[in-house]
């Protein structure tokens, strides 16, 4: 994939990830307050926004839960690495399965009340899944651009 596409992809992910923290940016520009309810509604499409699962900092919450924040940070983090090191290796499915196992296990175990919900565990397992998930997304996009060029 061309570097310019990688940069565009990184910026899309960056904007999406920054949007999660829009509540925190209101202090920088108060006009952002007009967008807050719309953004909250926007992110509700992709997250349950359960209040006790949101990341809180200085009495302000993120728009998505700890797990989703982890997933998006993972995607952003790996996309940043791909800006520096260009690789397009074919990925085995087992890596995606392995990376999703901790997240799925956490969802099942805390849903069955084996242990209480932990934002740290949710965030970490999401981060792992997002980081590995990006490799598949990147490969898919790479393949798409190759096919379009043909």
């Amino acid at each position: 994939m061309r570097r310019s596409y990688s940069i565009i992809l990184f910026f899309i992910l960056f904007i999406w990830f920054a949007g999660i923290f829009a509540n925190f940016f209101v202090k920088l520009d108060e006009n952002l307050l007009y967008a807050i309810p719309f953004l909250k509604k926007n992110y509700s499409l992709v997250c349950h926004q359960d209040e006790h699962k949101l990341i809180s900092f200085a009495s302000t919450n993120t728009f998505v839960c700890a797990r989703c924040t982890g997933i998006y940070l993972g995607l952003l983090f790996t996309s940043a690495i791909f800006l520096l090191f260009k690789t397009a290796k074919k990925m085995e499915l087992k890596f995606l399965i392995l990376a999703s196992m901790p997240m799925i296990s956490d969802v099942i175990l805390h849903s069955l009340n084996f242990y209480p919900y932990s934002k740290t565990i949710a965030f970490t397992t999401g981060l792992l899944f997002g980081s590995v998930g990006f490799l598949y997304l990147y490969n898919g996009l790479n393949q798409l651009f190759i096919e379009i060029k043909r």
Partner: protein, 172 residues
């Protein structure tokens, strides 16, 4: 044309409905739409008894269509339900939102403006069951987010399905 993409319509419909059903909504997850896109590719493969590799172009198209149909059905149902019941998330969450907005360290003029804007939307929804701004927001949000997540799901899903095909052909 419709027959060719019937699996995308079916999965898009399912995902769209899941996004608006009150109880299921609380389980909303960023993997709903990508999973629907993956499922649409799988259903298409099964329906056509295809053993060919799924191209990225096909994965992109199915993912995009699943996202678009999910957005279409989700938006239409949400607007329709709001119109009939004259009640929705915005109305239910208004006191909470009011509290949240008042908690921001910004000038009271801006706070009043924002609250007035949402008070108007809320009143329109309670009295008429319809608000132009709300409808526009729902459509824009749903189409943008669902399309992107659908494409991602389609592209990743195709690799999962192709991986299975590769394994099967290796075994044979």
């Amino acid at each position: 044309m419709i027959k060719k993409y019937i699996s995308a319509i079916v999965c898009g419909f399912g995902a769209g409905v899941l996004q608006i059903v009150p109880l299921l909504k609380s389980f909303a997850c960023c993997l709903f739409i990508p999973f629907a896109a993956f499922l649409s590719l799988l259903l298409d493969q099964r329906a056509n008894k295809s053993i060919e590799r799924i191209t990225a172009k096909k994965a992109f198209t199915f993912g995009l269509l699943t996202g678009i149909y999910a957005a279409l059905f989700g938006s239409v149902f949400e607007i329709l339900i709001t119109f009939i019941t004259k009640h929705n998330d915005i109305i239910a969450a208004f006191p909470q939102m009011q509290k949240m907005i008042e908690g921001f360290p910004v000038s009271s003029d801006v706070k009043q403006d924002v609250l007035k804007l949402f008070q108007n939307i809320r009143e329109d929804l309670i009295t008429k069951g319809f608000s132009w701004l709300y409808t526009l927001t729902i459509f824009l949000n749903n189409f943008l987010v669902n399309s992107i997540f659908g494409i991602a799901g389609g592209l990743i899903g195709a690799q999962i399905l192709n991986n299975k095909l590769n394994k099967r052909s290796d075994e044979n």
